[in-house]
């Protein structure tokens, strides 16, 4: 049991619920930034690598996940003045209920695995699973293209959290490569979003249905 880690991870779990109930994109982006900050500092709090390289890498992750990526999306919204609703396919109340169910399920499921991380923190694996599935939920249950990108980022955060157990072994250069890939991916998505807005005058993915069999 590691009190500080579990405390901040429980905040992440709450933020998932908040993101499911949130109808406004700026709020959703703030949640993502918060999650990005937390998942980047978790390895440090667990005390995995308190070397200079480890701290530098954590700072880099923090900057990219917590600041650069959310800022990218925020600027994309701002520049093209996209309508700021997420256009849900599944309603907010149903989403909230699904989110609660999801968190419970994540806790139950993670007890079945004997992950090497469970000694470090009780909530690490449940939070990672919950983030992963919540990201997929946002991808499927929102029609707004930006909300879908945000879902993808949330998924990535979850995977990063799974990976923290392995960051003892990982070489920072490799992790940094992964981070750069994710960053470049989000930037390309932001560019596509702007083009979608210019071409279709909206980012509702219902408009993106011409290519069909």
């Amino acid at each position: 049991m590691n009190i500080p880690v579990d405390t901040i991870l429980s905040l992440v779990l709450l933020s998932i619920l908040f993101s499911f109930g949130s109808s406004r994109l700026p709020g959703l982006i703030k949640v993502l930034a918060f999650q990005g900050v937390i998942v980047s500092i978790v390895p440090l709090v667990i005390g995995h690598d308190l070397t200079t390289g480890g701290i530098l890498f954590t700072l880099a992750t923090l900057t990219i996940r917590g600041i650069v990526i959310p800022l990218c999306i925020y600027l994309a919204i701002k520049r093209v003045a996209i309508r700021r609703e997420v256009e849900p396919i599944v309603g907010y109340h149903a989403s909230l209920l699904a989110g609660l169910g999801l968190i419970v399920a994540a806790v139950v499921v993670s007890h079945r695995f004997e992950a090497p991380s469970s000694s470090a923190s009780v909530l690490l694996l449940p939070t990672a699973i919950a983030l992963l599935v919540a990201g997929m939920f946002l991808l499927m249950a929102r029609r707004n293209a930006i909300a879908m990108v945000l879902g993808y980022i949330m998924m990535e955060n979850g995977i990063y959290l799974v990976g923290t157990t392995f960051s003892v072994r990982a070489l920072h250069i490799v992790e940094f490569g992964i981070l750069l890939d994710v960053l470049a991916g989000v930037m390309i998505m932001a560019i596509i979003l702007q083009n979608i807005k210019q071409t279709f005058d909206d980012v509702d993915t219902a408009l993106l249905r011409t290519l069909k069999e």
């Binding site: 004997e114 090497p116 990976g163 157990t165 392995f166 490569g177 011409t210």
Partner: protein
Amino acid sequence: MVEIVFLAPFVTGVIAFFVPRSLGRPLLVLTGALHLLLSILLWIRQPEPLFKAYFAVTPEGMLSLLVISLLFFLISIYTVAYLQESDIKAENIFTGSMLLFLSTMTMVTLSDHIMVMWIAIEATTLASAPLIYTHRTGASLEATWKYVLICSVGIALALLGSVLITISMDVGQVDAPVSFSALTSVATQLDPLWLKAGFAFILVGYGTKMGLAPMHTWLPDAHSEAPSPASALLSGVLLNCAYLGIFKTNKIMQAAGLGDFSGMILMGFGLVSILAAGTFILKQTEYKRLLAYSSIENMGIIAFGTGVGGLGAYGAMLCLIHHSLIKSSLFLTSGNILLGYGSRLIDKTGNLVNLMPKTFVAFFSGFAAISGLPPFGIFIGELFVVMGAFKAGHYAGATVLVVSLCVIFAGFANQAMKISFNSSEAAISLKERASLVLPQYVLLATSLILCFWIPDTLYRTIMNAVTSVTGGF
């Protein structure tokens, strides 16, 4: 120094973004030639990589690298002619992305570290996204969006799979480098549960990129909206790169004694892909989408063959090489048809045999080759896969495979006949210059030659790649 093979196109790719088209086009061909030269040198000399923890020269990697290199060189020659005929804005972005795409794909073939492999495969997605959006239309934008989002999400799952494999190392208390070659040698000590989970996620993840059904939905859109040289690259070599990730993970599974588990899943995905492709080929109205679905079909056959193992895996390897050669030639040919008729609809084409005779030769022989007619290589590959499946006792799977192949052949033949021999009032202004047809001829001829005569080193490389999976026949 192995790394120069992907660093060289990376550097020229970055340069290509900033030079005018008069310089960009020669740069494309020159880099293609240089890359081919480097790959052949690599094949002969087999040097040690500089960063051994991340890169390695493996038989399957070299095989893919040579295919990529040859294809890119021929495609770059075609591209120059294609660019002269078509009107593409921001050509520097197109050429630059082509070269970066080449660089990232080369990196996939050479990477040995699990995470480096992931980085390289995700980088191929990012480098090829601008290629699909080249025409700047609403439909191409939609295709790009689908491609980037679906593939990124899929590949994110592969990242999760890779992480799970490293967890299987932790649980099994294995202390080895996180590379495919090291993991294959210590596979029996890995924790089987986490390894299985890791394989499943990697298969779904890279399978998305490889175009296995039901994760294939991006593929027909991306391949039909991209300009034809880019489609040829996407279909001919990008799919192989994703397959390489699955192939190497499958190798770990085989070494860990979990080959039956991974084989069953691979066969399942393979058959679903073949069936899905068959249904869509039958009622297809656009010829580029037709080719795209045929790629899904072939990837299905390859996945199925890999799952069968033994003779099937050898057949899958043959299918992989020949599919690259033939399908890229067909996509280049489809570029000629598009330039000539100005439409992607099959109904708007026709009478290709008289209107564009040289293109017709490339198209029709390509069609015969891809449908698995002898004497082309796909025929031999498919034959081995079917034989392997019967030998291993997968009668139901093999029967489904054979029946679907027949149905797909009928559907494809119907469409090919329409394009070739239907009457048409189209006025063709395109002049069939040598550089617009010769690359296709060379590709098809290579495939034909490889059926009758496989150079000894090539044969040994294929056998090395396959036998390490299956332990011989």
